[in-house]
């Protein structure tokens, strides 16, 4: 009797593991097509429109205050921004919190100098079909989407840099 149970348990475990491996979503992939234009309120005041940044490489990073990995990659993105901003590159941080005060709290601990936009109604997240947190999209100088990153794990920032170097040289 207990042997049958053990067998059943092992079978389920195996099934679980296999489906997990199969279902695992791709972390980084290529995207095609023009990046949908948008205008969002800048935390520092005023508005920012994506179309105005045509000619620059834009890294759009969707983040939330309650997301641990988002917090982790913030200083690394700031670092990349500082190093490449004079080469025609900019970062647009898009905060998806419904309450912008939560974004302020995180930014007090992890200050950044790139523009942080507020997507409190999540309209932009829907347009960009954000399905992971954080999400990073690389947009080239012609306003086309090129790469998409889902989630963040230590080491991703190296991939970001690689792609930015490529796009900046175009």
């Amino acid at each position: 009797m207990s042997q049958r149970r053990a067998l059943l348990a092992t079978g389920l475990l195996l099934l679980l593991f296999i489906s997990g491996v199969v279902v695992s979503s791709v972390q980084a992939e290529e995207r095609k097509g023009p990046a949908p234009d948008f205008t969002l309120k800048n935390r520092a005041g005023g508005n920012v429109r994506l179309a105005d940044l045509r000619g620059e490489v834009v890294m759009i990073n969707f983040w939330a205050s309650w997301c641990g990995p988002c917090r982790q990659e913030m200083p690394l993105i700031e670092d990349i921004y500082q190093r490449y901003k004079d080469l025609g590159f900019t970062v647009l941080g898009v905060n998806v919190d419904n309450d912008p005060k939560l974004a302020d709290k995180l930014l007090k601990d992890v200050p950044v100098s790139f523009p942080v936009l507020l997507d409190t109604e999540n309209k932009l997240s829907e347009i960009y079909q954000v399905d992971a947190m954080p999400s990073t999209i690389m947009v080239d100088r012609n306003g086309n989407m090129r790469y998409l990153h889902r989630g963040y794990k230590p080491g991703y920032e190296l991939k970001y840099e690689e792609q930015i170097k490529t796009l900046v040289r175009e």
């Binding site: 969707f62 947190m133 989630g151």
Partner: protein
């Protein structure tokens, strides 16, 4: 109060396995940016493991029932 007959147990396990496989095709109905309430620490099933384990021990040592005390899942869904 019924005990779980081996047949019912098997049925349940079968159902769970089917769900697991079906997971490949169903679209999640909650966007990752809608998960802030669930990610809040007040929404953790068990916030302090040191205390939870102790209370389970207190009850198990005095009650006949045992098992199925723990919880899990939820969280921010990041990564």
């Amino acid at each position: 109060m019924t005990s779980f007959s081996p047949r019912n147990r098997t049925r349940l396990l079968l159902l769970t396995s089917t769900l697991a496989l079906a997971g490949c095709s169903v679209e999640p109905w909650l966007k990752p940016y809608e998960r802030q309430n669930l990610a809040d620490p007040v929404m953790a099933f068990e916030r302090d493991a040191v205390q939870t384990a102790y209370m389970h021990h207190v009850f198990q040592a005095r009650e006949g029932a045992r098992g199925a005390e723990g919880g899990g899942g939820g969280g921010c869904g990041c990564n």
